[in-house]
Amino acid sequence: MAEPAQNRDPETGTGANRPMLTFNGVSRRFGDLPALEDINLTIDRGNFVALVGPSGCGKTTLLNLAAGLAQPDTGTVHYDGTPLLKPNTSAGYLTQDDALLPWRDVLTNVALPLEIKGIDKATRFARAREIIRKVGLASFERHRPSELSGGMRKRVSLARTLIYKPETLLLDEPFGALDAQTRVLMQKQLLDLCREFKLTVLLVTHDIGEAIALSNRIVLLSARPGRITEVLDVPHSPDHDIFRRGQGNERLYSHIWEHLVTQATDTGSI
């Protein structure tokens, strides 16, 4: 078990890795409702960090702060050493909703970020095709989102998020709406792409198995107002295979499960 994040020096992180994302004493409220309180968290470059907590604990708020879409009421958020004061264009954000433009086909949807950056048609379509092929949708370029299944739309979203090669990926329960089998396939795809592009990832999820399978560090959040109760390292064996569940992490699983149950019963939601 790693030492609590509060005791870690936010400036230097651990060892050689410079921290990608730092939260210092961050809190945020919506009117009278406190969403997050006293968040101190460091995410190192290249790490895959999962945020797990009960419903309403502010996980999405934390992600929005990391994306620069919102500003904290107290404390600061630093991205790659500099304070994050405007929307973070070096981060890719994948939400539970598709956020695809319904009137465009797959190709033009995926090419959208490059179109906004002003890259010419030929180049951006070429790069779009490349990444579309990578997520396995090569023959669906001309299809509209409404003609695709949920899993396929999710892959299109993923392709669009990765096309401009962000350094950081923010994921808000991206696979929640998919059926169990598609979900596992998407998780594998995600992990492969993250390894290939060497991404730093912050994943919000309800799915403990997903958190354990994908991440190397899990942050447990309390019920509202969200505070960090624990940060756990996830040991992976060298032959770690995402398709096989329960490979020696059963204790970790039940520990997290207990945490969620406690949080839920304490707030009376059960």
Partner: protein, 256 residues
């Protein structure tokens, strides 16, 4: 009580009944015995037909119909464009919205016809004033359409563009306009009859041309045949315009 009997009514039976009703009304009207005064007040179908024929031949009906149509078309175009522009701003910016929604909703609640005397004071009774008034009436439809269209865009889509670093112009072209297209189509269909009412209203109150003016002018000289003739022309023109607007709306099917 048997229900199935009424369900086996055919289109033919309906049409025949309708034709019978129309025939009865027209023949009753035509054949009613009238004193001279009543003749002036009520007219009869044959007289109306004769007057219509006369006016078609000498171009009166065409001339006035054209004036009304011009007002409607110009009003729709101008009111539509301004409504879209303002609605876009209000939809995109919360502060702009809060500033202008109040006055706009207040203006919307005011019966617009009461503004006509003021408009006449400002702009006289010519085509310009008619068009401005029609544009004002039409404005609201397109304003609300655009406003709702922009505000209805899911936050996730907006965030995606923000994170990609989109400029405001890009956001409008890539997101707001396509997302509002369906609303605009609906607004066009809804606004058309209102545009006609607006145009004709200004003509009836004070004008030198247009079908509304023709109705009023005919009544003023007790030419009831002319009055009905102009009314009929107006009915035809506005029905045609509405049908065209509906067809165009149906053709431009927009699927999400």
């Amino acid at each position: 009580m048997s229900r199935s009997g009424s369900e086996r009514v055919t289109r033919l039976q309906v049409l025949v009944t309708q034709a019978a009703i129309v025939a009865a009304l027209i023949s009753g009207w035509e054949l009613a015995p009238n004193s001279m005064l009543e003749e002036l007040l009520w007219s009869r179908p044959s007289a109306i037909f004769a007057q219509t024929y006369l006016w078609l031949a000498d171009g009166t009906l065409i001339r006035h119909a054209y004036a009304t149509l011009l007002t409607v078309a110009a009003g729709m175009l101008i009111g539509g464009l301004i409504g879209i522009a303002v609605g876009l701003h209000a939809g995109a910016s919360r502060t702009v919205a809060r500033l202008i929604i109040g006055p706009i909703e207040a203006l919307f609640a005011l019966p617009k016809i009461t503004l006509v005397p003021l408009f006449i004071l400002w702009m006289g009774i010519g085509a310009f004033q008619h068009i401005v008034f029609t544009a004002l009436v039409v404005f609201f439809f397109f304003f609300f359409a655009m406003y709702n269209g922009v505000r209805g865009v899911p936050a996730a889509l907006n965030d995606t563009l923000t994170l990609a670093g989109a400029s405001t112009a890009q956001r409008i072209v890539i997101l707001y306009l396509p997302a509002s297209f369906g609303w605009i189509v609906i607004a066009t269909r809804l606004a058309m009859p209102y545009a006609f009412v607006a145009a004709v209203s200004t003509e009836v109150i004070a004008s030198t041309s247009g079908l509304g003016h023709l109705v009023k002018g005919s009544a003023a000289v007790m030419n009831s045949a002319g009055m009905f003739s102009a009314m009929l022309a107006l009915l035809c023109v506005s029905l045609t315009a509405s049908v065209i607007a509906n067809l165009a709306a149906a053709k431009s099917r927009w699927t999400l």
